[in-house]
């Protein structure tokens, strides 16, 4: 397999120009901008002794921050996934007034600065806010609790989930559904058996992207979180706190740990898309 690929590549390289130049630019930019800086980060973290590393990572506060950041990001991403299917479905299949506007707004969290999102969401969900007041009457405080973090993560991850599902839903083959209809399948059956399986890989990609984005989120969360150690303190905040104490190695260690976890997510993501393209091409 790899042999034929390489041979194919060589033949093509003769046909199309610019391989060396473009690959050179790509590798240069990626090295200077991403690989070397991140390498420096890892090197700084590695300057700590194994026992120091162990004692930092095993502290209960660090542990609970990781659990909070990654746990909430995961739950928020999954919920974004479900909202994503619903919204994508409605935007693709139905026509109703205001649809275009709604569709345009989906990407808002993507382009809005995170600090602005944080300030706005905090104002909305504080106990005297538009949403916070009624929720507070029900006895649920959102802003300045882990719920607030959850709301912020839901917000930043949403466009990834919706936009991953939308094109796939739009391009679903009508024939399969119509065949199922003629065979007498119920709508619910068709949804579960015909549509969802085709949508599933895209949904997973969307969830993974939303998760990756949410896990590292800082700007919007610090405003709404309350930042209580062990309760609503996220990993990026711990990194900032270490920096303020001039503990660069400790900050680099936490950053590296986040990075490794992100890398694992990305790897899974790419495996997922490979798996998807093998199945559906």
């Amino acid at each position: 397999m790899s042999l034929t690929l390489a041979a194919g590549g060589r033949r093509r390289r003769n046909a199309l120009p610019g391989f060396g130049l473009t690959l050179g630019i790509t590798i240069f930019v990626l090295s200077v901008l991403i690989v070397i800086p991140l390498g420096g980060l890892v090197a700084r973290a590695a300057s700590l002794s194994p026992s120091q590393i162990l004692s930092i990572l095993s502290s209960p506060r660090v542990f609970s921050a990781f659990r909070l950041s990654f746990g909430l990001a995961f739950i928020a991403a999954v919920i974004d996934g479900f909202v994503g299917i619903l919204v994508a479905w409605v935007l693709v299949r139905y026509h109703f007034p205001g649809k275009r506007i709604l569709d345009s707004l989906v990407d808002l969290p993507f382009a809005l600065p995170t600090a602005v999102a944080g300030i706005t969401l905090t104002a909305l969900y504080a106990d005297d806010g538009w949403f916070g007041a009624p929720l507070a009457k029900l006895g649920l405080s959102v802003a300045f609790t882990p719920w607030g973090i959850f709301v912020a993560l839901l917000f930043v991850g949403l466009p990834y989930a919706i936009r991953s599902c939308q094109p796939v839903l739009a391009d679903l083959e009508r024939e399969a559904e119509e065949a199922a209809v003629t065979l007498g399948a119920q709508p619910a059956q068709i949804f579960w058996r015909v549509i969802l399986p085709q949508l599933f890989p895209a949904l997973l990609t969307g969830i993974a992207l939303a998760f990756a984005r949410a896990a590292g989120e800082y700007g919007s969360v610090i405003f709404i979180a309350g930042n209580m150690p062990g309760i609503s303190e996220i990993v990026p905040l711990l990194i900032v706190i270490r920096l303020e104490q001039f503990d660069y190695a400790g900050a680099a260690l936490l950053a590296t740990t986040m990075l490794v976890m992100s890398l694992v997510i990305l790897l899974l993501l790419n495996l997922l898309s490979i798996w998807r393209s093998r199945q559906y091409v």
Partner: protein
């Protein structure tokens, strides 16, 4: 017979799905936007426009435009180069390269800022070298550009790679066989095929570059009237108890987001075939 339909065509189901989507998006996206505008215009239209005459705010807007003016072209060239070598050629390590391009999306903005402090800070690897030559990198324009480049590096490439992969290399090869040079082939064959995806990628990159908060905040130094960008200025004004000013600047960024998305809708609607799947994030 009433059951023999494609799923979601039942009138009641359809009504509830649309209602659910509208309510969800309304609460998650429209409400923050409305609150933002309500705050921005809270003291009247005159106060809103007055916010843009403050020198510090004007300088922040200019600074943001300048950063975008450097970042967007660099990332466009990089995106084209990366997409060309990745989509049109086969070589070992390609998957790794794609993963590295994706990496910044899942790196916490705080970490993105931190890595450049570690390198260009006074006590970093390259900091003393640049300082000795009188070049300010960090806490100055170059540092903010680099941090923004890092955060936005994937956007153009991500739009182009799937599309160019899908289009293959037959057309370019034909042009080469007919005697067109490499550059002519790119200019007259490849570029027209990808132009709308490229435009959209550039717009996304631009929106994100202007809206980046976390990473830029770490490397900016917050010098008023000099190294403040629009998102940083929003926070500064907010903390100066000038919420009209803060939300007015924020509304510009939100507006930019919406314009980006509207342009994308229009492009997608008119050039759907050309955009293909690439329209997704």
């Amino acid at each position: 017979m009433s059951n023999h339909r494609r799923p979601g065509e039942n009138r009641i189901v359809r009504f509830f799905l649309i209602a659910a989507a509208v309510v969800l998006l309304g609460a998650m996206l429209v409400a923050p936007l409305v609150l933002l505008l309500a705050e921005a215009f809270g003291k009247g239209v005159a106060a809103y426009f007055d916010s843009f005459s403050k020198p510090d705010t004007v300088s922040a807007i200019i600074q943001t435009l300048l950063i975008a003016a450097v970042v967007v072209p660099v990332n466009t060239v990089f995106g084209l180069a990366a997409a060309w070598c990745i989509a049109k050629f086969n070589f070992p390590g390609k998957t790794l390269l794609v993963s590295i391009i994706d990496l910044p999306i899942s790196v916490s903005p705080v970490v993105a800022g931190l890595v450049f402090v570690l390198i260009f800070g006074s006590r970093g690897w390259l900091g003393p070298f640049f300082a000795a030559h009188g070049i300010k990198v960090i806490f100055a324009f170059p540092g903010m550009v680099i941090a923004t480049l890092f955060v936005t590096i994937a956007f153009v490439a991500r739009q182009l790679i799937p599309l160019m992969q899908q289009q293959g290399r037959d057309e370019e090869e034909a042009a080469m066989v007919l005697g067109a040079g490499g550059f002519r082939t790119f200019w007259y064959v490849t570029l027209p095929n990808i132009r709308w995806a490229l435009v959209y990628g550039v717009l996304l990159c631009n929106a994100r570059a202007m809206g980046e908060f976390g990473a830029v905040s770490v490397v900016s130094g917050h010098i008023r009237g000099q190294t403040m960008t629009m998102p940083l200025q929003v926070l500064a004004l907010y903390q100066d108890y000038d919420s009209v000013g803060a939300f007015a600047v924020a509304s510009l960024l939100a507006f930019l987001a919406v314009v980006t998305l509207v342009v994308r809708r229009v492009l997608e609607w008119r050039f759907r075939a050309e955009l293909g799947y690439a329209g997704s994030l």
